[in-house]
Amino acid sequence: MSELIETIQKRFGEKIVSVQEDFRPRSIRVRVGDLVEVMTALKNEEPFRFNQILDIAGVDFLNQKPRFLVAYILLSTVTNKRLIVETDVDEFEPVPSLIGVWCGADWFERELYDMFGIKVKGHPNLKRILMSEDFEGHPLRKDFPVRGTVPPEQRYAPWDKRRTREY
């Protein structure tokens, strides 16, 4: 077991559900409720100092319970270490916002909501970011079709009767 994971387990104890050391970077799994507390400590406390959040990635395991995995990819420029913090959420269950910890989490959380429909509790401006506002569905969910069809009423603009070509 690596030094970093050992110190994390010693510091957080029960809060760490599991650790994964076979893959790089190493990852720890926490419950949604403990997320903000663990993240705040990981950012500010001395042996960890993960001062950057690089990305937030959602993964949809369609037939599992809980359905989604949210991976927070952290980097420390102080200790030159990487860590992934994972948490599980079910459909309709929100994750807490981390804007209070790293302000850079803002757009990553909006993307998470846009692509997976995972609500972020406490986000001041939770809107779609890459898709348009009136888009229906969340494209990176596994039950979202890869190839869609255009409904008949949208095939040509109704105000433009001359356009007969179907798109």
Binding site: R24, D55, V59, A71, I84, W107, M131, S132, V146
Partner: protein, 395 residues
């Protein structure tokens, strides 16, 4: 989408984009102006969203490489290399020395090309047109070399998982040596024109300043972070693809303003030339790809003449590479910062989930904070200095 709810009566709303000369791609900035001062800015992105991450789930690991060309279209080879390294990390393989060195050479050449475009277009927006021509002459030479190597200028698809698409041709070394002679001339010319230029300094010094703490908290990487004074470069800190064999420095700035970003990029080009010089001097012989029939295609003689070769070729084309269940995150230092790939595999030939971490995405969200209280012309200068590439931003 921008709303007028909070809009005060005595301010003016100005649209910069989605299609504007200074945006170099399609992204929309809504500026709220008091006279010519910027009170606030709101950003709207997603105009170039093509769903690359969804498409990746339907493609084999090698089949995704052409899509990485379309992310940062200013330096496509760096995306190819970054993605290939991530998948190789997932598979637990390492490319032979010659492949690594060729990757380093092309990586640094493309970094120079990216910085040439970033600085060139940035100063055009500020009003200095001459430098653009000095730089684009060199960029054209680099792109000619890339075309000679891979047959395309922008859609390179340079790498394969486990190595390169093909070895370089015979006069590669002499071409590189010609570039190493020519590029510093242009850099020095532009250095003389800009670095001590009164107008350029007035337009860029103390414009778009960001402190190191804020930059780190926003997730800044690359030249924009280094301009704030932190010597953070993944090529040095977490070496990959043989970067530990080369001797180079990490240039840093002090104030984190537009001028420092320009200086950092200029110095980085010189350091890249140093790396290329070392790599071409010590370019090893041997294969460019690993020889594993489950990962790389066998040579054509084997496919035509042996049963095993034909089977391996057929299996790899039809079923692709299979990775063990697991995940990987691998980040490399590209021209704008850290480009990372988070890949989750479930043991099939397609990635279960592939998340791209583009460097621009984290940098661009700090734009409103940088432009508040400045003039419209400063907003254009800052936007150019951040080097936002919409294809990478929206994926």
């Amino acid at each position: 989408m921008f709303t007028f709810e909070k809009h005060k009566k005595d301010t003016m709303i100005l649209n910069l984009g989605p299609s504007h000369n200074a945006t170099h791609g399609t992204l929309r900035i809504v500026l709220e102006l008091d006279g010519e001062r910027i009170v606030d800015a709101s950003l709207e992105i997603g105009y170039l969203h093509r769903g690359i991450e969804k498409m990746a789930e339907q493609r084999t690991y090698n089949g995704f490489i052409p899509l990485t060309d379309r992310m940062n279209y200013v330096s496509p080879i760096m995306n190819n290399i970054s993605y290939a390294l991530a998948v190789e990390k997932l598979l637990g393989i390492e490319v032979p020395k010659r492949g690594q060195y060729l990757r380093v050479i092309m990586n640094e050449l493309t970094r120079i090309a990216d910085h040439l475009v970033a600085i060139g277009t940035n100063v055009v927006d500020i009003g200095a047109l001459t430098n653009y021509f000095y730089f684009f002459k060199e960029r054209e030479r680099i792109y000619d070399l890339i075309e000679k190597m891979v047959g395309a200028r922008l859609t390179t698809t340079f790498t394969r998982v486990g190595g390169l698409a093909r070895d370089v041709n015979g006069d590669f070394a002499s071409d590189i040596k010609f570039l190493l002679k020519e590029i510093p001339k242009s850099i020095n010319d532009v250095d003389k024109l800009l670095t001590k230029n009164r107008i350029f300094m007035d337009r860029t010094i103390n414009v778009g300043t960001i402190t190191q703490d804020r930059a780190l908290e926003y997730g800044f990487t690359g030249p924009v972070l280094r301009a704030t004074g932190l010597a953070w470069d993944l090529r040095k800190k977490q070496p990959y693809s043989g970067y530990e064999n080369f001797d180079f420095d990490i240039p840093t700035g002090e104030n984190g303003d537009t001028y420092d970003r320009y200086l950092v990029r200029m110095e980085e080009m010189r350091q890249s030339l140093r790396i290329i010089q070392q790599a071409i001097d010590h370019l090893p012989d041997g294969p460019v790809s690993i020889e594993d029939p489950h990962i790389t295609l066998p040579p054509k003689e084997d496919v035509y003449n042996t049963m095993e070769g034909l089977i391996h070729h057929f299996m790899l084309i039809m079923y692709g590479i299979k990775a063990k269940p697991g995940y990987v995150y691998f980040g490399t230092e590209v021209a704008n910062g850290e480009l990372g790939f988070y890949i989750v595999s479930d043991g099939e030939q397609y990635p279960y989930r592939l998340k791209v971490r583009p460097p621009c995405f984290a940098i661009f969200q700090a734009f409103p904070e940088m432009v508040r209280g400045l003039l419209i012309s400063d907003a254009v200068a800052i936007l150019g200095s951040l080097n936002i590439v919409a294809g990478e931003l929206d994926r």
